[in-house]
Structures are given as C-alpha cells and as structure tokens.
C-alpha cells in the first residue's frame, strides 16, 4: 500500500507494536520454527489451541493456511458461549522471505462485523547476538483514518474478539 500519502490533509497513519526476545538457539533453528509446518505447529498457539498447517508456500506472495482448533475444555466452552466457532481457519500471505533473517507476512482481519476488512502486517527479524538469537516482531495495522485516530487516542476497538480470534 504505497499510495502517495498527501501531506497535510491525509492522516493515514499506522499503529505499530514491536516486541523483542532473545533465544538461546541457532538462527537456523529459529528460522525453521517460523517457516516449516512442524516448526509452526509446535508453538503458534494460542494456549488452549492446536494449530494445524494445511498449506505453506514460503515465498513472497505465497500463503500459509492453517487452522486453530480449541483443545482446552474451558476455551471450547467460552467460544461456544460467545457464538464463535471452535476451529478457525486463517490465512497469511508472505510479503518478505529472506532466510534466515527476515520474514514478512500479512494477515487480513475480516471477521469484525460492520468493519471493512483491514490488513495487519508483520515483520520478523532475526539477528545473532552474543546471547543467542534476537527476534524482533513488528506488527503494523493498516486501517482507515478513523480507527487509526481512535487508536492514537487510546480508545480503539472492541478486540475481545480480536485477541481470541485473530491470534494470527
């Protein structure tokens, strides 16, 4: 999305979250965790869910299709009560694949009633340091001006649903 952002009038801004961790592992292992079926299924989660990768096509423009299935009894009950399915299909599209250093993918959030689908971009950067491998995840939300503005104000959305469902 590289429209010419007209300076001044357009308030198209992004929300951004950055999270960093250092792991005592090799960069190749960490990369594998992010980019292989077995790797992803072993940790993606969230807690109380099992992730099954249905298809993975690791190249720019390729997709990762996976299903998150609630396995925890309490979680299943919660989902049912909230009228949500207990298995959720997800799709992400790779936007950058530079082994073993950078992995970009975008996820399309299209499940919020009354809200135009919007895109969430993720960039994962791996860097070898003295302590191991530094993993930096940067998440950007592309949204329309209104919601962006709302978020900047610290208001934002009803993301009970997002946290439970998005998890991707």
């Amino acid at each position: 999305m590289t429209n010419n952002a007209t300076a001044g009038t357009s308030a198209t801004r992004k929300e951004r979250v950055t999270i960093e961790r250092t792991y005592d592992a090799s960069i190749e292992d960490v990369w594998e965790m992010w980019t292989t079926k077995d790797g992803i299924e072993s940790w993606w989660g969230p807690d109380g869910f099992a992730t099954t990768v249905r298809a993975i096509d690791l190249r720019v423009g390729g997709v990762l299709d996976y299903t998150m299935r609630a396995t925890d009894a309490a979680q299943i009950e919660f989902m049912k009560k909230a009228n949500m399915p207990t298995a959720i299909d997800n799709r992400m599209t790779y936007t950058e694949v530079t082994p073993p250093k950078r992995l970009g993918f975008s996820h399309y959030a299209d499940f919020i009633p009354g809200v135009e689908p919007y895109q969430v971009n993720h960039l994962v950067e791996l860097r070898t340091t003295a302590d191991g491998v530094r993993v930096t995840v940067t998440i950007d939300r592309m949204h329309d001006d209104y919601w962006t503005e709302m978020a900047v104000k610290g208001w934002t959305s009803e993301l009970e649903k997002l946290a439970k469902v998005l998890a991707a």
Partner: protein, 116 residues
C-alpha cells in the same frame, strides 16, 4: 439490548458526527451545519449513537446539546495492548518449543536435576 459497537461506528456519517463532537459538545443544528445531511438524518444517527452509549444529550433551553461519552470509547479495548499480550505469549511458546527441540536433540542429555 446489545448494539455492536463496530456496526454503530462503521457508518461513515456517524463517524463524521463523532468527529464534530471531538472538540466538545455541540447543539444539533450546529452538527447539522457541519455534516451536510438533513436534520432528520442527523437526529436519527444521534439517536443510534446515544442508544449505543457513544454520545449523551442535555437540553439547553430549546436546544439539544450532544457530547461524546469517553467511557464508552475506552471500554472498547486497546488494540496495541491486546496485540502485545498475544505476541508476548506466543514468543514465550516459541522459547519453550526451542528448548524442547534442543533437549530432544542432545544425544546424551545431562542428567535432569530431579534429585532434590
């Protein structure tokens, strides 16, 4: 009665009305001047916003003055903190998975420290 906050705010005209109230309270006719639809339309949207708890009204003489109810907006959760929590947990699990993998790989694992 449950009104989905997103549905209420997804309407572009209602967003514009909310925008006009951001700088402070306004009388209905003042709002009508700032969004170019008829008063009846504005009133209808204000009623919906009001029912959903986003705005409140007080009479001032013959006028009806509307303002935002910030609490309602705050109730809607903070996206950033949600996402952070989600990813913190996820990266914890990645660490645990890496540890498991390392253990599985070690040909002669060092004795577990279960003797305590």
């Amino acid at each position: 009665m449950h009104i989905d906050a997103f549905e209420v705010l997804a309407d572009p005209m209602r967003r514009r009305i909310v925008e006009t109230l951001r700088s402070g309270e306004r009388a209905v006719n003042d709002i009508v001047e700032r969004v170019d639809i008829h008063q009846s339309g504005v009133s209808r949207h204000l009623r919906i916003l009001s029912e959903a708890g986003f705005v409140q009204m007080r009479p001032e003489g013959t006028k009806r003055v509307y303002s935002l109810k910030p609490e309602r907006f705050r109730e809607l959760d903070d996206w950033i903190s949600r996402y952070r929590v989600l990813w913190e947990a996820r990266l914890d699990r990645l660490g645990a998975a890496l540890d498991r993998r390392k253990r599985d790989r070690e040909p002669t694992p060092p004795r577990n420290e279960e003797t305590k």
